[in-house]
Amino acid sequence: MNAAVELDRIFETVVTEELNKKGKHRLSEQDLEAFGKEMDALRKSVEEDLGQNDVDYMRRMIRLSRMSEIVGRVLIHISLDPFTWMLGVSSLSFAKILENMEIGHNVMHGQFDWTRDPELNSQNYEWDTVCDAESWRRTHNYEHHTYTNIIGKDRDYGYAVLRLSNDEPWRPAHSFQMIYFALLTGLFQWGVGVHEAEVEKLRKGEISFSDKKQFFKEFARKASRQTFKDYIFFPLLAGPFAPKVLVGNMMANLVRNVWASTIIFCGHFTEDAHTFTEEECENETRGHWYYRQLLGSSNFTGGKWLHVLSGHLSYQIEHHLFPDIPSNRYPEMSLKVQEICERYGLQYNTDSFLNQYKTVLKRVWKYSFPEKEAVQA
C-alpha cells in the first residue's frame, strides 16, 4: 500500500477517535442523508414483514401478565405463611413489570395500531400505574421521543431533578442528587405521574397552577383509581388480613418502580450517552434526527427474559430509532443497525446491564459537582 494513503488512513482514524472521545463524530450532510435513508429502508423492510406472529406475541404477553396478576393477588390473599405471600408478591410484581414495560409502553407507542384491534390501539390503552396514559403519551411519546436528549427541551433528561450534563449549570442543590436519585427510583411511578406538572417551572413562577389545572385533575383521577385498587379495595377484601395485602401490594409497586427506573436510566444516562443543544437541532433533517436518537441512547445485553422484562428497552437505541415498530423486532434490527453504524464510524453504545448501570451511578455522582475548570495549556 502506498505510504501516503496509509498515513491518510491513520490520520483519519485518529481524528475519528478524537471526535468520538469528545462525543460526537460529525457526519457530513451527505453522509447524514445516506445514513437516514438506510434507517428508513431498514424500517420499511420490517414494517412490510409485520404479521400474525407479532400480534400473537403481544397477545401472549397480555395473557401472561393478566394471569400472573390474578395468581399474585390470589396468593397474597390466601397466604398464611411468608413463603406463599412472597410468591404472590413476586407474581404480582412480574405482572406489573410486564404490563408497564413490554405491553403498555409499547402499545401506547402505536406499535400495534396497524392491527386495528381496539385492545391494541395506542390512543385507547390505559396502564397499571398512577401515570395517566394520556399524560404519558404527551410527555413521553411526544416530548421525550421527539426532542430526545436536547437539553432544555427533553424534560426526561434528568427529570428536571438531576443534573447529568455540563450543559446544565450547577446549583448547590445538585450536591445531594444521589439522594434524589434513590428517591426517584423508589417512587418512580409517582415521579412519572406528576412529570407533566412541570414543578420546576411552577416553582420559578414561569407557569401558574391554573395552567396545569386540567393536568392535576387527570392525575388525581388516575392516581385515586390506582390507590383505591392496590391500597383500599384488595386489602379490604381480605378483612382482618388487610395489612398483609396492603404491604404486599406496596412491595409489588416498589419492585416495579425500582425495576422500571433502573431500566430507563440505563437507556439515556449512561456515561457515553450524548446530549444536544437546541442550536444543533434547529431545522433538523431526518438523517440528523436518526443520528441524535442513536447517540443519545444506550443498550444493554442479556438473556431473553431480561429483554422482555425491560420491554425491550435493552434495545433503547432501536427503540429510539423506530419507536413504533413492535419491540419484539428490535433484536433482529439491532444487528443491522450495528452493521450500519460501523460503516459510518458511529458509536453504538452497548454493554452488560451491570456495567451500564454502574456508569449511570457514576454519571449521577460526577455531575453532583460543578464542572472543573478546563486546564489552560
Binding site: 402505536g110 396497524w114 392491527t115 390503552y125 404527551r138 411519546n141 421527539t146 379495595f233
Partner: protein, 385 residues
C-alpha cells in the same frame, strides 16, 4: 357505510356511574376487556372485548378459481336477515382486522332451519380479503359479523311494491358479476312469488356465471320465470348490455320493477338504460359496490378530503398534510410532534389513498389507522374526524 358493530369498549368510556368507576379502577378497562385474553383460551368464539359472539365458517365451496361460497354459522344472538341484505364481516388476516360488506346469497330457509347463511366472495384483483377467502381461508375460522343491513329488496318482503301487490308487477333483475349474490338470496327465498320475473345475469364468461344451475332450475320449474345469462367476454360478438339489449330481452320493461346489483359503473349504466326505456325512478332499486381496490386506480389529480364526523370537506389541492387541511377547516385534531413520531394524531381513514410524506409511499385504499401529520391525500379520502 355505517357499521353496526357493538360499540368498542376502549379505555376511557362510560364515565359517571359507580360500577364503571370501579371497573376502571380495578382493570383500567372494562371487566370483559380485562378477562378476554384469558377467556378466549377456553371459549374462542367469544370476544368479551366488545365484538360479542363470533361467526364461524362451517363449509367452503369453490365455484371456480375466482368465486367461493362460505357457509357461516351465525352467532346464537344474531337476529337474522331479509333476502337482499348484506353483512359486514371482519376477518383478521395476517394480524390485521379488515372489514368488508358481503351480500347474503342463501335462502331465508337455511337460516330458519340451521341458523346458517352463505356469502359468495368473488376475487378482486389486489383485494386482500377476497384473495384471502378464495385462497387461504380454513374451515372453523372465527370472525365478527354485524347485524344484516340494507334496503335493497325490503319491499319484496312486504309483498307490496309502491302500494301494489307484488304478484301484479313484472320484475326485472339486472346483475353483473358478484352482484348476483343478493339476487340469489331473494329468488331462492321465493320473494318474487308468482310474478313474471326476468333475471338478466352478466358475467365475463360461462364459467363465471355462479349459481346459474339454480336459476336454470327455476326457469324450468316456474312458468313465469325467465333466466337470461349474458356473457360479455366469451365470444368476439359479446358486448356489454345496453338499453337496446334490455329491450330485446324483456319486451315490456317500462312496466317492470327493476332491481340492479353490480359495480358502481354497471349500476349507473343500467339505471340510465332503463330510465331511457321509460322506467320510473321509484321503480328502480339498486345496490352497488366499488370494485376498484388498486391504489393507483384511485389516484387522481384532484383531491377531496371528507371529514366524516364534522361533515366538512377540504378541496385544496396543495401539498399539505391531512392534519393541516383539517386545521384549515378549523377542526382541531389532537396532534403533537407533527413529524410522525408520537402517534397522537392517529385516526381512521375510512377510504381512499394517502401518501406517506416521509417515504413517498402510497397507502392501501382500505379502512386503516393513519398518522395524519405525515399523510397527504391522493384522490378522494374519507377521514373519521
Amino acid at each position: 357505510m355505517k357499521s353496526q358493530f357493538k360499540a368498542q369498549q376502549g379505555g376511557k368510556q362510560n364515565k359517571g356511574n359507580t360500577t364503571s368507576w370501579i371497573q376502571e379502577a380495578l382493570f383500567n378497562r372494562s371487566i370483559g376487556s380485562y378477562f378476554n385474553p384469558i377467556v378466549k383460551g377456553v371459549l374462542p368464539a367469544w370476544d368479551l372485548a366488545g365484538r360479542g359472539q363470533l361467526a364461524r365458517v362451517v363449509e367452503i365451496q369453490k365455484h371456480n378459481d375466482n368465486a367461493t361460497t362460505l357457509r357461516i354459522q351465525a352467532p346464537a344472538n344474531w337476529t337474522g336477515f331479509v333476502p337482499g341484505q348484506y353483512v359486514t364481516c371482519e376477518f383478521e388476516i395476517d394480524g390485521v382486522r379488515r372489514k368488508r360488506n358481503y351480500s347474503i346469497s342463501s335462502p331465508a330457509s337455511l337460516f330458519e332451519k340451521l341458523g346458517q347463511f352463505e356469502i359468495c366472495v368473488h376475487r378482486v384483483e389486489g383485494g386482500v380479503v377476497s384473495n384471502f377467502v378464495n385462497d387461504g381461508l380454513r374451515r372453523d375460522t372465527l370472525f365478527a359479523i354485524s347485524e344484516a343491513q340494507g334496503e335493497f329488496a325490503a319491499e319484496l318482503q312486504t309483498h307490496s311494491l309502491n302500494g301494489e301487490s307484488v304478484q301484479r308487477k313484472p320484475l326485472l333483475f339486472l346483475a353483473a358479476g358478484s352482484g348476483i349474490t343478493p339476487i340469489r338470496s331473494i329468488l331462492s327465498s321465493g320473494q318474487h312469488a308468482d310474478s313474471e320475473t326476468y333475471l338478466v345475469y352478466n358475467a365475463a364468461n360461462q364459467e363465471s356465471l355462479v349459481f346459474s344451475s339454480s336459476f336454470k332450475s327455476l326457469d324450468e320449474n316456474q312458468e313465469h320465470f325467465y333466466f337470461i345469462p349474458h356473457t360479455t367476454r366469451e365470444q368476439a360478438s359479446d358486448k356489454r348490455l345496453d338499453a337496446e339489449g334490455i329491450k330485446a330481452l324483456c319486451q315490456h320493461v317500462e312496466a317492470c320493477e327493476v332491481f340492479i346489483c353490480g359495480s358502481n359503473s354497471f349500476t349507473q349504466s343500467m339505471m340510465d338504460a332503463v330510465v331511457s326505456l321509460g322506467v320510473k325512478e321509484e321503480a328502480i332499486h339498486f345496490e352497488s359496490f366499488d370494485s376498484a381496490v388498486n391504489a393507483s386506480a384511485l389516484t387522481k389529480e384532484e383531491s377531496h378530503v371528507h371529514f366524516v364526523h364534522s361533515g366538512k370537506t377540504a378541496n385544496d389541492n396543495k401539498a399539505i398534510s391531512v392534519l393541516e387541511q383539517a386545521e384549515n377547516l378549523s377542526l382541531n385534531p389532537k396532534n403533537a410532534c407533527r413529524m410522525g413520531v408520537c402517534h397522537s394524531c392517529t385516526c381512521t381513514k375510512k377510504s381512499g389513498v394517502v401518501r406517506n410524506m416521509l417515504t413517498g409511499e402510497l397507502s392501501s385504499p382500505d379502512e386503516e389507522e393513519i398518522r395524519i401529520c405525515i399523510s397527504q391525500a391522493v384522490g378522494d379520502v374519507e377521514i373519521e374526524l
